[in-house]
């Protein structure tokens, strides 16, 4: 291989050269095209399809005209005024709202899911099996199916405790946390079971209480799954739309998903440049987080559905 590389100065040709030696075809012979070359064609076409919308939104965000038509000629003009204008809009307020809601929900989800998984994994109590089965059944029904009832219940609660009624950030977080246990307990439960029970028992013999074992031993050992659950919860909450749109009403309280939807669907003013700039800024942290932690996220996604 290394010897062949000398004769093939361009990187990426070495293997094809080996191919040529074996089959005595040209460097880009028919055989190469039918076996390997077409895969690159498919790949390049797909990459273009994947990347063009993303380039489009970046270009639109940099286009000073801020209109639909102006955005169509990719990177014809470049300026940062859309980004500057974001500071005069509600964008950063929405950004903070989304961030606060998603972070709080993620932390709450990790703590509550972790505690529940600990209980199911380490204690044997009557009703344990029934509770697990119930959770399994509940997690089949996404919370958003009950969006109308959630709205009506919050209306009722709002008469009593306004900070937990409709149009309240706290109420929205509470609703999200209500759905947290059903979705994540199983994912965590499986992982908690892989931590050997002997570790707890050793700690117990040394005199540690159950809370000490939970906070100082178990939670540290399962930190990878905590990270995955926290991340999935963050990304999920960040993009959640229907419940946020139903619960939140005043323009200052909206999340990014609801606020940017309003911009993008505003056909009269069509603040397209503003929307694009906002979309790019909102996407950057999520994309970076995703690419960095790809391995864990993908593992977590599949772990939930296949037991074992």
């Amino acid at each position: 291989m290394s010897a062949l590389t000398k004769t093939a100065p361009r990187g990426g040709v070495a293997r094809e050269d080996r191919y040529r030696i074996r089959h005595d075809a040209g460097p880009r012979g028919t055989r190469w095209w039918t076996e390997v070359g077409w895969r690159h064609v498919v790949g390049i076409v797909m990459v273009v399809i994947c990347v063009v919308p993303l380039l489009y939104v970046i270009s639109a965000s940099l286009n000073p005209s801020g209109t639909f038509t102006g955005s169509n000629r990719l990177f014809s003009e470049v300026g940062l005024n859309n980004y500057a204008e974001l500071f005069e809009s509600r964008y950063w307020r929405w950004f903070v709202n989304s961030f606060v809601i998603a972070v709080t929900t993620a932390i709450g989800t990790v703590l509550m899911g972790g505690a529940a998984a600990y209980a199911f994994s380490r204690f044997r109590f009557s009703g344990r099996r029934a509770a697990l089965t119930t959770l399994l059944l509940v997690q089949m029904f996404p919370q958003m199916l009950a969006v109308v009832a959630i709205f009506l219940v919050l209306l009722t609660i709002g008469d009593v405790i306004p900070v937990l009624g409709t149009n309240s950030t706290l109420a929205l977080i509470a609703v999200y946390l209500g759905g947290a246990l059903g979705v994540n307990t199983f994912l965590m439960y499986g992982f908690f079971n892989t931590v050997p029970r002997e570790i707890d028992e050793a700690a117990k013999i040394d005199g540690a209480g159950h809370a000490q074992i939970f906070w100082t031993i178990i939670l540290r050992l399962v930190s990878p799954i905590l990270a995955v659950v926290g991340l999935l919860s963050f990304i999920g909450t960040f993009g959640e739309f229907i419940i946020a749109k139903t619960v939140l009403q005043s323009p200052d309280r909206l999340t990014l998903a609801v606020g940017l939807y309003q911009w993008a669907s505003d056909e009269r003013n069509a603040p397209w440049g503003l929307f694009s700039a906002g979309a790019v800024l909102a996407a950057v942290p999520v994309v970076v987080l995703f690419l960095l932690l790809q391995k864990y996220i993908v593992g977590g996604l599949t772990a939930g559905s296949v037991k074992g």
């Binding site: 009950a146 009832a149 739309f241 229907i242």
Partner: protein, 528 residues
Amino acid sequence: MTEVSLGGPVGTRDRRGSDSHARRTGPGWYVKIVLMAAVNALGLYGVWTAVVVGSWGVATFLALAVAAADWVYFSRRMLPAKYLYPGLVLLLAFQLFVMLYTAYVAFTNYGDGHNSTKEDAVAAISAQNERRVEGSETFPLTVVERDGELGFAILRDGEVVVGDADTPLEPASGSDDGARVTAVDGWTTLEFAELVSRSAEITELRVPFSDDPADGGLRTQDGSLGFVAAPVLVYDAATDAFTNVSTGVTYTPDDHGSFVSADGEALTPGWRVGVGFENFTAIFTEDRLAGPFFQVLVWTFVFAGLSVVTTFALGLFLAMVFNDPRVKGRKVYRSLLILPYAFPAFLATLVWRGMLNEKFGWINEVLLGGAEIPWLTDPWLAKFSVLAVNLWLGFPYMFLVTTGALQSIPGDVLESARVDGASRWRSIRSIVLPLLMVSTAPLLISAFAFNFNNFALIYMLTGGGPHFEGAPVLVGHTDILISMVYSVAFDSGVKQYGLASAVSLLIFVIVGVISWLGFRRTRTLEEL
């Protein structure tokens, strides 16, 4: 938190008895006491407010929740419950209860015009149907204000009385010039300029004349002369009916939560009552509703099914394409191909919405050289666009999943197939696909369930449109069941929570059946 030694001193002397912390006094104990004090204080405050407002359901739930918290955290037993309690309370309130509540609302006529109780409806009808009692006396009236709320003050039998929209006229201390009130303690009297600037508010204001709704309310046209407006419709609790005092027509309650006259005229508002299966029969049999509903139902299945099939097919195809070690730069391809998955889906959907815009979108104007193809407004093209955008959003996930599954298929199986003379297609069909299905089938089921309720995609891309003409609710060719629920409940002009919940309940049933079929396959239930 983890730094705090919650268990108190570690030693054998504490091991007598149980693991409970009730008797220990480490830092964790203080944290617990403070937290529990806060929970009790807030909880009891909530119970008290709920009782004051008369919201018995909330009061009961909070009282039970606080009692349960005290029991769980101060008992020396109940170890598992200490860990389950916070999650379970929220789960009960915002997942289980709302599901049950959906089922309840589905059997009522809850919605605009039927929002509240019968008492509220009686009060509202009495107040809204008023006019000046002919020949009745007028009162020189003073407009006053307290905390931004407007009120009226008059002299009744020589005595100063004051009231606002919520409180009937009652005696107050103040001063008068013999004909008119000049000042009321605790209220500020409005100046002429304010009377002019707030005239709309003033002519709207109605102050109940006394505790008895039949006495009518004090109103004014000009802010200086008040008159008593008496109800045209008078409610008689004994016969449970409204009578129109000028025409003599009586309105009696029907079983749909409205007062209705003999010739069918209904008074608004009505109130919330159970209507049995009427919402469901309306969905299935009422011509104008059933037609759109079935179209939405079919499209929901088609959309979810085709979304899974197309994303899986493309993802698998690409996984096979790049599963060949001879392809250089596979890592680069892979990280670029999962970009659509890393980009937040709601943002990507909105970007596509812009790109597919009929007049100014990039696809029409640049890619197709100025064509005006109605991507999102033609019934069939909108369906196609929804599927295409969902394919763009969804194939990277399938690509990742199938790549993993392909790599776990042992090479020697494929090799032996090749030795036995199987063609490439044959070994894909008979070896790769069946092995792949074992590990990906559960994911395909959950992908189906996800797309079945993919509200954000539909709502953000097409808003469900183009809309069906003549349907009593705002639904369209690309609406799926969940977006129909949202539209019926919030977007269709008249809010029909009952009908929307009925559709929700149908989704619950469908999702339940699908999941049950899925579980039967994977037998997850047996391995708890």
